[in-house]
């Protein structure tokens, strides 16, 4: 096939609204556009003038799938600006809270958004008669993640308890013990998920990929650590703006991200597992083996395997944290509002999420900068498609189109998040 047009007007089974349009001429890509047409909401603009304590509440609403990550990042940035030190209990509870969202988000993506592609269905719902056990397992895992989020945060979508220094309400030790019993039972189900991923065959794709993730020598980094890359970057995450750049591309409402030398980069489960494999929990390493993938891998189709390993890790580390937390105690951490700036980066399920704020002495926001994981990945998705498509021009157009959709879905893109930082759109 020397000439082809791959066109998907409204990409399905991902969060948000985007279209793909590729023109192939003489076996080469003449034009490739991942057009994010999700309407912008300008969070970055209207955050200016709001009060600091509203930031976790408001920024959570950027994403219905990963509100926990927005809350954790906003709080870390504010706490840096006000020089607030959090207790060990808060640090552990926040990690548990973040892991709960990994369980929910990864179960959602593996089973409901990605698996139907590999098993030949339109949705997880239509898979239910042929794969009843898998679908029920998916619902159980997802509910468990949601219940753990709600236990700590009050509800699963846009939770309400996180605040500066900690939480407005704490789960009881008994409630944590009760959910630990369910986490124990979920561990073999998470392992089964890795086994399932191991049975799916994925296309080959090798490229000189740059991975970026948080990394910490003590633990699998999510809410803290250094910002590192597979090409030697190693910085304080608060300095992210000096090393990771963004520019506006005409065909998309999402900004394109690149490293200082102009290369695209990957964030998310595959980048994290590639860079932090040694810090995965013991069962997560076994799970990685079950997927049949050897890490580090430069094939984005191996993101599903990385996600499965992280699912197991999230369950196992949650169990460990619950044991360490015991009976959470009320803490009285005060803080002083002051003028200044603070930035922070955390690992959302889809990759690094960065927030940066400046406040006046009343705590009113003067400047806000937020970059979502999918904004980081859009450039990498386009670059990957430019490599992937020419290698598969022997496929019928319909199949190639599906393969492109699968390629994009590997990234678990969340276009709802990605556009809310776009500056105002120009006319015409």
């Amino acid at each position: 096939m020397e000439n082809a047009r791959i066109k998907v007007d409204y990409l399905s089974r991902l969060e948000g609204e985007a279209a793909l349009d590729v023109t192939v001429r003489d076996g080469k890509i003449a034009d490739l556009q991942l057009n994010v047409f999700e309407p912008p909401r300008f969070f970055q603009s209207f955050l200016v003038g709001r009060k600091y304590f509203e930031l976790p509440e408001i920024t959570a609403r950027i994403c219905g799938i990963c509100p926990v990550s927005y809350q954790m990042t906003a709080l870390a940035a504010i706490e840096r600006a006000f020089d607030v030190r959090i207790s060990e209990q808060t640090r552990k509870l926040r990690k548990l809270y973040a892991l709960s969202q990994y369980i929910q988000s990864h179960a959602l993506h593996i089973y409901m958004l990605a698996a139907p592609d590999f098993l030949g269905f339109e949705s997880a719902i239509s898979m239910a008669s042929a794969y009843p056990e898998e679908v029920k397992r998916a619902l159980r895992l997802k509910r468990l993640g949601n219940d753990l989020t709600a236990l700590i945060g009050g509800r699963e979508v846009h939770p309400v308890t996180p605040q500066i220094g900690g939480f407005s309400d704490l789960p009881s030790g008994a409630a944590l013990q009760a959910i630990a019993i369910r986490l124990e039972a979920a561990l073999p189900e998470a392992m089964e998920t890795a086994r399932l991923i191991g049975q799916l065959s994925v296309p080959d794709l090798e490229w000189d990929l740059t991975c970026v993730a948080l990394s910490d020598p003590q633990e699998y980094a999510i809410n803290g650590g250094r910002l590192v890359s597979s090409k030697g970057l190693d910085i304080d995450p608060a300095d992210y703006r000096a090393y990771l750049q963004e520019r506006h591309i005409g065909h998309s409402n999402a900004l394109h991200s690149s490293t200082k030398n102009g290369s695209s980069f990957l964030v998310g489960p595959l980048a994290r597992v590639n860079l932090n494999f040694a810090r995965l929990s013991p069962r997560a390493k076994e799970a990685a083996e079950l997927t049949g993938v050897t890490f580090p891998s430069n094939n984005p189709f191996h993101s599903a395997a990385a996600r499965a390993a992280e699912l197991v890790h999230s369950v196992e580390e949650s169990l460990q944290l619950i044991e360490e937390l015991g009976e959470p105690k009320r803490e009285n951490g005060g803080y002083i509002v002051r003028a200044g700036c603070g930035a922070a980066v955390t690992e959302a399920p889809r990759g690094i999420l960065s927030h940066s704020y400046c406040f006046n002495e009343q705590g009113v926001v003067l400047e806000a900068d937020i970059v979502a994981p999918t904004s980081r990945n859009v450039n990498n998705i386009e670059e990957g498609l430019r490599l992937f498509i020419p290698q598969h021009l022997n496929l019928p157009e319909e199949e190639l189109t599906l393969k492109c959709e699968m390629f994009i879905r590997n990234y678990d893109p969340c276009f709802s998040c990605s556009v809310h930082f776009l500056k105002l759109r120009m006319n015409g």
């Binding site: 409204y10 399905s12 089974r13 991902l14 948000g16 609204e17 999700e38 309407p39 912008p40 909401r41 300008f42 969070f43 603009s45 209207f46 200016v48 003038g49 709001r50 009060k51 509203e54 509440e57 609403r61 950027i62 994403c63 219905g64 799938i65 509100p67 959602l108 409901m112 958004l113 139907p116 339109e122 949705s123 997880a124 719902i125 239509s126 239910a128 679908v135 619902l139 159980r140 997802k142 509910r143 949601n146 009050g154 509800r155 699963e156 979508v157 846009h158 309400v160 308890t161 605040q163 407005s168 309400d169 959709e405 969340c414 709802s416 500056k423 105002l424 759109r425 120009m426 006319n427």
Partner: protein
């Protein structure tokens, strides 16, 4: 309705959290899907089917002309059209932008002054007739299930008009305004959340929008009495539902 009712879920300017609440109905999801045909749900399926549909759920606010067109088509395609969530019902958080002077926003973003499209956020009822509204940021799952059941049975769903205070009293929570002097919006906000925030020592910030017959002016004066500045009070009322006529009484000094 004959056979399984066909359901469509539309997305406009939003975070996808309300449509995620459908998938978050895990314990009853398979049963629910035995009763309705989720014919159009782009986030959860490919092979989406064309209308007409029996029920359309609309998530998100309307921020541009293209979306007005898509919304009008949705109205034509659906027998019942239901706005879900603060964005669709009240304009949502992004309606905070409606009061920002656009020139100032531009200057904040662009080094050179350029001509930009006005960006304002409106509820879907600004452009089309809606048959029902489920408010909340996000919608409450119990209310969603109750609504779907009612629609299947052909009865009017019990949408709560009373305020969060009623649910808060039923839960026997300590009142945050009276005993702690905190600015809680509970008295003027529609119930349906089970007083989620006050029950966790967090003041209500109003994500469910105005309750029926609420008295914003009185609460505004109470907040000023607690020592809040008018700018703080304005921020409270220009949040999820700043376009609401009653809420606009909270922002005038």
């Amino acid at each position: 309705m004959s056979g399984k009712p066909k359901v469509a879920i539309y997305k406009f300017a939003s975070c996808s959290g309300c449509q995620l609440e459908f998938l978050n109905l895990e314990p009853v999801l398979l049963e629910l899907l035995g009763l309705v045909d989720l014919a159009y749900f782009v986030m959860a399926r490919s092979g989406n089917q064309p209308g007409p549909y029996d029920i359309g759920f609309v998530e998100g606010s309307i921020v541009n002309a293209d979306d007005v067109g898509r919304l009008k088509e949705a109205r034509q395609d659906c027998n019942l059209l239901v706005a879900i969530g603060a964005c669709a019902v009240h304009g949502g958080l992004q309606s905070i932008s409606n009061w920002l002077p656009m020139r100032e926003v531009e200057a904040r973003v662009y080094p050179e002054p350029v001509h930009t499209q006005p960006v304002k956020s409106f509820p879907v009822s600004e452009y089309v007739k809606i048959d029902a509204a489920l408010s909340g940021c996000p919608i409450n799952k119990n209310e969603l299930v109750e609504f779907v059941k009612s629609a299947m049975l052909g009865v009017t769903p019990r949408i709560r008009p009373h305020s969060v205070c009623v649910e808060c009293k039923l839960a026997e929570n300590v009142c945050l305004v009276v005993s702690e002097g905190k600015a809680c919006l509970g008295p003027v906000i529609r119930a349906g959340c089970g007083a989620l925030c006050p029950g966790r020592s967090t003041p209500c910030t109003g994500c469910h929008g105005p309750a029926g017959e609420c008295n914003v002016e009185s609460l505004k004066n109470m907040f000023l009495g607690l020592g809040l500045h008018q700018a703080d009070v304005t921020r409270h009322f220009r949040k999820y539902a700043g376009l609401d006529a009653e809420f606009q009484k909270g922002v005038v000094a």
